[in-house]
Symmetry: none
DNA sequence: GTGGTCTAGACCACA
DNA sequence: GTGGTCTAGACCACA
């Protein structure tokens, strides 16, 4: 699994991993039901402690992105649509929040639109 | 000065204060040249340690948002336009980054536009 | 034999199998003296390692629920009443423990009764 | 904080701690908004590694029982009623599930009632 | 081999 | 002092 980590970033490593895996799911690079690397395996690949991977996997499981089946391995959830929808929704609402901030500062919708890559 | 703090957020308190003051400047609620509260005063108002306010003010001064005149007090910079421009630019580039992410996930520009409050 | 397994549950697979067979006995779906599937056969049916079935059968035999007659096969015990009684007793005492917890939290017996399907 | 741990139990230590704190909240021994011991402090008291307490606190926070305010400490949530309700509901539905199992086994409601401490 | 738990302890930013 | 992150590594049950 191809994941780039930034050790300087404020975002903790385990959350970077969470974000990357969510991204790979949204991009259909990871498919529903697909098995993902074992904790220790990914730890080796990324040069990171297994506990850190575990924390990322725990977070992903609590968000319904993956399911871990003890002794069997860890798998992408069968219904990926919810994950995608949630991700898109959160990005969209982030953007809308920021558009609102720009309007508060005094830019009108036309000015804003001009500066967006749309 | 009306500033809401979130003690649970990952963003440190002093940075939240920085962001809020920049926002108030951008909104013209704080005017160029206007005096802002003394460190101890604001510390009391917000129920926060004076060191935290100090750190926020230092950051704001290094960004050219405020100027502290030793015994006279602390003031909003006279030329507020740079502050505003910087803030707007950073928000705009944030948004464009997220638009790109949405495109990567598979939404085209039309779909994205439909969901933005523009 | 119709047994549903939950690979995510904390309860180990072999214990789930034990519980399910005890349940089938208590429900008279498995009758006294009846032969049950061979280890390898059940392993295939459930898509599980034969060692896991072995462990479940061993446990059931130690509890007197089944008897394995070497070359002949494995059978439900002739006197099923003890199995049932033990099972009922353990469920009842589970419930009573939980009733006590509800009382400790502050519900009185009347309130509790109202919410039970009795 | 008075918490008894059972190192033999199948339930992991961190979950025992979670359960105990939920219980103390339900019993009003821990009040809304009240500060609870620092991670390292409770670790010392219970003779357990700080990471274990952290995991318990993380779980409690994800369930909305406590709120951790970085550098300030950890606190019981302000609105405890939801926590209580959820706890009671889950116990009640556990009991009802078991009552149903007893009925499936062949006991009628009268027989069951007789054996419950109600 | 696989996930799950736990200890020991370091280091960090922040307040 | 307080929570948060991370490493290193052991041990366990289960499959």
């Amino acid at each position: 699994m191809n994941i780039a980590l930034d050790y300087q970033a404020r975002v903790p490593i385990y959350e970077q991993i969470v974000g990357e895996i969510e991204r790979l799911v949204a991009l259909n690079i990871l498919s529903p039901g697909e098995q993902i690397p074992a904790i220790r395996e990914l730890a080796l690949t990324l040069g990171v402690n297994p506990n850190t991977i575990k924390k990322a996997y725990d977070t992903l499981e609590s968000r319904g992105v993956i399911i871990s089946k003890s002794t069997k391995g860890t798998f992408i959830t069968d219904d990926v649509s919810v994950v995608k929808k949630t991700l898109v929704d959160s990005i969209v609402s982030d953007i809308n929040e920021k558009i609102e901030r720009l309007e508060n500062i005094g830019l009108d919708k036309k000015e804003i639109s001009k500066r967006l890559k749309l």
